[in-house]
């Protein structure tokens, strides 16, 4: 089959690898302005930007001959839970012929989850070989996440502009090319080496900003105007609260009962799930404050209910924990210039705050 799926940061490398090893052809484009234009044209106006980019991604895939779309579902008061169904309806209305496989959380239904896997894998491969494949690719995903985390530490300290981004891109290519688990491990080490060899200012103490918000706009650089890169090049070390390896752990069979630190941290302010990443956004702000971060940036799709709820709670967290936050709402009309102005001003604010705090100590 020819398969397309949501493109979200470096995870596309892993999904592509899985599908190809199962004998499928993969057509997926990195989202571009064209993707967003297509998605916006055929989406309801007030759908959120992840919906629009995904719809555009699917249309581009279908135009290239894809006949199967693999995507994720969800439940609770976030519209993402119904994306798949609505997108199917829209795409069928446009005259495309295709199948869509929607993965819901494994805890919803074991039968559906494994049924979906079998549907993609076909009748051939044994469960054991599928399990081995997923385990290997899980390691690839972890390797990619580890490399990305490291890049966030290196970038603010780099002496030559864009040297980190180049090293990070090279590392991704090496990890993508690895075929066995041993090779993935070696590729990861090579990637770490590449990043560590970027010439850095060792004495520089960067500001530290935590990134919270809705998963798609946090993970896909196209959706957030390359926020992490921009901040890194402004000399800021960023930490992202969401990584796919972390998320999958909580939502699949790798760890069903992981103790949720974030949920606990959020409890005094918000003691229940409100869909999407609303509760995580609150909890992570608390954790960032407790771990000495200088500030927090919340990335939220315009009209996203869970993040709107989180945003209205954050002023209290911010006051209690003395941590400034900046919310950036994103839709197809958001301009990069406006975002940079706010980022610059936010960084100025954090520098002033840090300088003031140091004056007091000395």
């Amino acid at each position: 089959m020819k398969i397309t799926f949501p493109y979200m940061g470096t995870s596309n490398i892993v999904f592509k690898s899985i599908m190809e090893q199962l004998g499928h052809e993969v057509v997926v484009h990195k989202p571009s302005d064209r993707t967003l234009d297509l998605g916006t044209e055929y989406s309801p106006e007030f759908a959120c930007i992840p919906f629009k980019i995904l719809l555009g991604t699917f249309i581009e895939g279908l135009q290239d001959g894809a006949d199967l779309i693999v995507t994720s579902g969800g439940k609770g008061p976030c519209r993402a839970g119904h994306y798949g169904q609505i997108q199917t309806d829209i795409l069928e209305g446009l005259g495309y012929e295709f199948d869509m496989v929607i993965f819901e959380a494994i805890t919803d239904s074991f039968k559906d989850f494994f049924g979906n896997i079998r549907k993609i894998a076909g009748p051939g491969p044994s469960w054991w070989s599928i399990f081995k494949l997923i385990k290997k690719e899980w390691n690839r995903l972890k390797a990619l996440d580890d490399i990305e985390r490291l890049s966030h530490k290196v970038r603010p300290r780099e002496l030559e502009r864009r040297a980190t981004t180049k090293a990070f891109e090279e590392a991704q290519e090496i990890i993508a090319a690895a075929e066995t688990e041993e090779e993935i491990e070696k590729a990861k080490e090579k990637g770490i080496e590449l990043l560590k060899s970027v010439p850095q200012n060792e004495d520089y103490e960067p500001l530290k900003i935590g990134i919270i918000g809705e998963i798609y706009v946090v993970l896909e650089p196209f959706a957030n105007f390359e926020l992490e890169e921009t901040l890194g090049e402004m000399g800021v070390e960023v930490d992202r609260s969401i990584y796919l390896t972390g998320w999958t752990k909580e939502h699949s069979f790798f760890s069903l009962h992981s103790e949720d630190k974030v949920e606990k941290a959020a409890e005094p302010y918000l003691d229940q799930l409100i869909g999407g990443h609303g509760q995580e956004s609150v909890g992570n702000t608390v954790l960032y404050a407790e771990n000495g971060f200088d500030g927090v940036i919340q990335l939220a799709p315009f009209t996203c209910i869970p993040e709107i709820v989180a945003k209205s709670i954050l002023p209290k967290v911010s006051r209690d924990k003395d941590i400034p936050f900046l919310t950036i709402f994103i839709d197809e009309k958001t301009g990069k210039a406006g975002v940079s102005t706010r980022l610059e001003a936010f960084v100025d604010l954090l520098i002033q705050k840090r300088d003031k705090a140091r004056e007091k100590i000395s």
Partner: protein
């Protein structure tokens, strides 16, 4: 005598000020941008250069506003700073204990919260520009009232009407509706001022702790109707600085002054003669990779002096 130049290149107006070493305004100029930032800056500087004392030496230049990078290249700026920071710097210079800055300009509105002289929080309108200067301008001309008199008329109202201020288009429909109903112009204008303030406080002001002293600046601060509506809504006095409409430029000049003084560096200012040079910006789309960067080039009298807008090193001028 030393002076510092500050240039605020906004969407609607370009403001240029010269301050002295104490931060006092020596001269200022306020011009409409009209989509031609370079020409307007050159014209403004030409006018200023004729008025300044002969012994005035420009020791630093700062730019701010949406055109800060472009004009920064043209004049040789020592500091290029975003308008949020520039406005805050200017207000705390003029009202040292300020805790809240309300700022409404041509197309944006923002709120800045300061404590002990430093910015601790800010917000800027994102998805809505209802209530900014452009909209007031448009409504004033639709009603046939000169914008300068708009606020005074609002003060004459004895019974203001409620206008839906959430969206500028709907606000206009609602105003027309109220006119058709027979409400007086004064009452409608007063209602509009109140609606805009309500929208501002619910939109950019949401979740912010607004404490006195409150400073109100930006072009719209000229409107006494809006000032009064703010005072009623916040139940506190609102201070409008003398140079309310050029605060961004003052902030830019102060930032440049700080930089050259604290670092003891020479200014990059290219001199008053820049008003006589020809600057030509051009742009093209780089097709080197999927980023498709919009690269902008600036030529000065036919010579390439700067490029920006790209992500990699490909277009660096060596």
């Amino acid at each position: 005598m030393k002076g510092f130049l500050g240039i605020d290149v906004g969407s609607v107006s370009i403001n240029i000020v010269i301050i002295d070493t104490e931060g006092e305004v020596i001269d200022k100029i306020y011009l409409r941008t009209k989509g031609q930032p370079i020409d307007v800056v050159q014209r403004g500087m030409r006018e200023l250069s004729k008025k300044v004392p002969d012994d005035l030496e420009i020791a630093g230049v700062g730019t701010t506003g949406s055109g800060r990078n472009l004009i920064g290249v043209v004049v040789g700026a020592d500091t290029v700073k975003n308008e949020i920071t520039a406005h805050a710097v200017a207000s705390s210079h003029i009202v040292p204990d300020v805790q809240t800055v309300l700022e409404i300009g041509g197309q944006d509105s923002k709120i800045t919260i300061l404590r002990n002289g430093i910015v601790v929080d800010f917000a800027m309108n994102t998805v809505c520009a209802a209530g900014t200067g452009s909209f007031l301008d448009q409504q004033a001309s639709r009603l046939g009232v000169p914008i300068e008199e708009f606020g005074d008329l609002a003060l004459k109202s004895e019974n203001k009407v409620r206008i839906a201020g959430r969206c500028s288009v709907f606000a206009e429909s609602d105003m027309i509706h109220k006119q058709q109903m027979g409400h007086s112009l004064e009452d409608i204008i007063a209602g509009l001022c109140e609606a805009l303030v309500r929208n501002y406080l619910n939109n950019v002001g949401q979740g912010k702790e607004i404490l006195a002293p409150v400073v109100f600046q930006g072009g719209v601060a000229a409107n006494v109707g809006i000032k009064k509506a703010f005072e009623e809504a916040l139940e506190t006095e609102v201070v409008i600085p003398t140079h309310y409409n050029v605060m961004g430029a003052i902030g830019a000049a102060l930032l440049a002054k700080d930089k050259v003084t604290s670092k003891e560096v020479e200014t990059n200012f290219k001199g008053w003669q820049i008003t006589e040079l020809e600057y030509t910006p051009t742009s093209f789309e780089c097709e080197g990779c999927s980023n498709l960067c919009e690269v902008i080039e600036m030529e000065m009298d036919g010579e390439l002096i700067s490029r920006w807008g790209y992500k990699c090193n490909k277009w660096d001028i060596v």
